[in-house]
Symmetry: C2
């Protein structure tokens, strides 16, 4: 069965404030950081998040609708990956800067 | 009369998600961009914002409480400036990256 891509903004529809809003949440920032670390695609189930399934689904939707991630259905799985190239085209260095800041902050907590 | 500094988070209290949330709004992003361009301090009245005075005051407060700007009262004025050095210490390159992305987006609108 072919993948079904979930609705997302086109490149020209992605707005900086929506991207910042999407990443201004600890859970969503963590999802983006894990996807960046994996450099590939991950099923929602692969994330060990401290929230309910419906809250988790909501967070993935906010990231997708902001243009931060792309999601597709594959069988019973919903796969996600970062739209790294699209974001880099629009806002060079932004995603790396935010994820770098997240790592720096996480490092200070240890 | 001496300046009175308004309450703000200490350096170690500044959180990345709060900074992103503060900048995830077109008006607040514009305030930060204007302060960055000016490289100094500006009175709230110096901004020609398309919102009421109380909404504007709220936006400045969100930026201050997130640690993005510092504000002080000077006579009847409330002066603001970016906490550029503090943010650079915590999250190197982040503020410049976000403001650069804002300029890039603004440029595409023209």
């Amino acid at each position: 069965m072919a993948d079904t891509q979930l609705p997302e903004p086109a490149l020209t529809e992605i707005r900086l404030t929506a991207v910042l809003h999407a990443l201004a949440d600890p859970i969503r920032l963590r999802i983006a950081a894990e996807l960046a670390q994996d450099q590939g695609e991950l099923a929602c189930q692969a994330f060990d998040l401290p929230v309910t399934k419906s809250t988790s689904t909501h967070h993935f939707k906010v990231l997708r609708e902001a243009g931060v991630i792309r999601q597709c259905r594959r069988g019973t799985h919903r796969m996600s990956h970062l739209r790294t190239a699209d974001l880099e085209t629009l806002f060079p260095g932004l995603l790396a800067g935010i994820l770098g800041a997240h790592l720096a902050e996480d490092g200070r907590k240890d």
